[in-house]
């Protein structure tokens, strides 16, 4: 697919308006790659001036910092900020709440000042401004959809409404889980847990959350984070419910409806 790379655009004499920060999950994880592609499809269709960093992008350092490895976090932050400032990046969009949080909240005091926006907010804006035109009879019209709040979007950054209004724009019926918004239950991946086995317990966190999902009777559980997506997909599979309920990113919902 056609994806503009920042360095190539610069050599052509272009300065893209927005950097799409893909993130490690969106780049390497097979499931998350389709979220990335869905968002690219939308960006291309809307005709926004954007580019990705391509092979120059590096981990923001989020998992290292949360695991306690501040040295590694600072190394990654330094290199990323040098690169972003070198390219005079002004605005960044990302589909990963962890990258979003680090770029938005943790990079400024290290010298990286950018306008950072999560893709849920950007999708909402593009729908509101009429840039995204949804099909009259979209695939999700009337479908029961529940939304799983990512901790790094919700409690960490108070973004609860944007992803929900994206879902509502599909004419779907949004059903809430018993634990939602500021009371939402974590998927189990944050704090670098994604990269290690869970500690000893009597249940896995993603299974605990999956039972909330199944209780709603929704046919789609929407997420806005690639890690939540992985955890919920695993949870649904372990419950052998993958035929009845799909785990989709809000970008995928929109990409399938335009």
């Amino acid at each position: 697919m056609k994806v503009p790379i920042w360095s190539e655009e610069v050599s052509k004499g272009n300065q893209p308006e927005i950097l799409f920060w893909v993130g490690c999950a969106g780049s390497f994880d097979a499931r998350a790659q389709s979220i990335t592609k869905a968002f690219i499809t939308i960006l291309n269709k809307v005709g926004i001036s954007y580019a990705i960093l391509g092979t120059e992008e590096m981990c923001t350092g989020d998992p290292a910092r949360r695991a306690g490895n501040e040295f590694q976090f600072q190394m990654m932050a330094y290199q990323n900020i040098q690169l972003l400032n070198g390219y005079q990046v002004k605005k960044i969009v990302t589909a990963c709440p962890h990258c979003f949080n680090t770029l938005k909240n943790e990079y400024p005091e290290l010298g990286g000042h950018f306008e950072v926006i999560h893709h849920s907010t950007m999708l909402q804006q593009m729908i509101d401004e009429g840039k995204i035109v949804l099909n009259e009879n979209g695939a999700f019209k009337g479908k029961k959809i529940t939304f799983h709040d990512s901790c790094y979007l919700g409690r960490s950054n108070q973004i609860y409404d944007a992803p929900r209004s994206v879902i509502e724009a599909l004419d779907a019926s949004l059903v809430e889980m018993k634990r939602c918004k500021s009371n939402g239950l974590c998927c189990g991946a944050g704090g670098a847990q994604m990269f290690k086995e869970e500690e000893k317990g009597n249940n896995r966190i993603n299974l605990e959350r999956t039972s909330d999902v199944l209780e709603t009777g929704a046919s789609v559980v929407a997420s806005a984070c690639p890690f939540c997506n992985t955890m919920l997909t695993d949870g649904i599979k372990l419950n052998e419910k993958q035929e009845e309920i799909k785990v989709l990113d809000i970008a995928e919902l929109i990409a399938q409806s335009i």
Binding site: F28, G68, Q72, N105
Partner: protein, 441 residues
Amino acid sequence: MEIFQQILFGIILVTAVYFFSKRMALIKKLILLGKAEDLHDQPMKRWKNVALLALGQKKMFKNPTVALLHLLVYAGFIIINIEMIEIVMDGLFGTHRFLLGMLPYYYSFLINSFEILAALVIFACVIFLVRRNLIHVKRLWSNELTGWPSKDANIILLVEIVLMMLFLKMNAADSLLQLKGIEPYANHSTGVFYISSLLHPLMDRFSIETLLLTERICWWMHILGVLAFLNYLSWSKHLHIILAFPNAYFSRLEPNGKIKNMPAVQNEVLYAFQPESAPAASSDPSPSSFGAKDVNDLSWKNLLDAFSCTECGRCTAACPANQTGKMLSPRRIMMATRDRAEEIGSKINQQIEWRSDNRSLLYDYISEEEIRACTTCNACVEACPVSINPLDIIVELRRYLIMEKSSSPQEWTSMFGNIENNFAPWKFSPDQRINWTKEST
């Protein structure tokens, strides 16, 4: 006789206030063992937090029934304490119902309001005792509360009930003495006490002497109880009624997702990349250690948090790790932090050098397994009605383990290796980062 009582009262009052102040000074000293952190910016926002979170108990109202009961006890506590002005005046100057002379027109209204609140406080405390001991509400009935913490909670509730009952019984005896025309009660006409007069049938058969004795005993027991309770609360989880206010004021104003920066590490990395920006050697001593092993490695705000915790367990009830049976309990993190600070406090009091006691918050109070289970989801931070941040402590302990002890689970060691070599937490080379662009949609 009168003057003897006044002197005795004065001595008891001064003694109680002295011991309370001494204890609070120690608590302040223990909190200030923590590292400096400037939390004085944006005073308007901070006062707003005090008004909403501490005074308005905004977060309590996530559960309106419990919030309402708690509000009754809290309002009762604050408002009935206006009565303390009168009790102290009467005690010191040997007067009777000092405020009656000051506010003759409002006095009946004032005392009746106190009485209604007192009855509501008794009602709420009984329900709290039932929730704790009979219904066994899960967050109030877990392993970490076994022993002293649950006893502490029950003592607080029982003392509050007893104090309120003494206040009502004193008023009941007083108004009966007024009806019987006994001085000095008869010439201090208070009007009807609507709640305490309900006790009259129980006391009707009392002789005048018994009534006089009852009124005096209740008065003395009430004030002695209040002064004892004042001292008790400084040793107990009930300290939150005082510390919730400064804790709300000093609570963090940044987004919850932002983890505290370590400028020393930031500079070290900067100098590694830009050696020319490094200051001349020795002018910038790096900190003795990274992260936190003991309470004095934490920020003073972390320690204020620990002393402000009333062990309600909303954090632990919301914690995903705890709900799935992991060892981690954010409440236990706070209790352990306070326990270690108190241990240091008792060593300071006994003039024992605590820095070489070979004990520390990490290992002796909190295990690696506990802090390894945290997903940094901020549910505990969100849940706390008094703005405590257990996550901050967990991250500082993790920093110590990784940066000072190089102790990390095998998978994290691989992750660090991948980030270092491939700039991604997984083992993919940077060239593969754009492989997806070569595929069709």
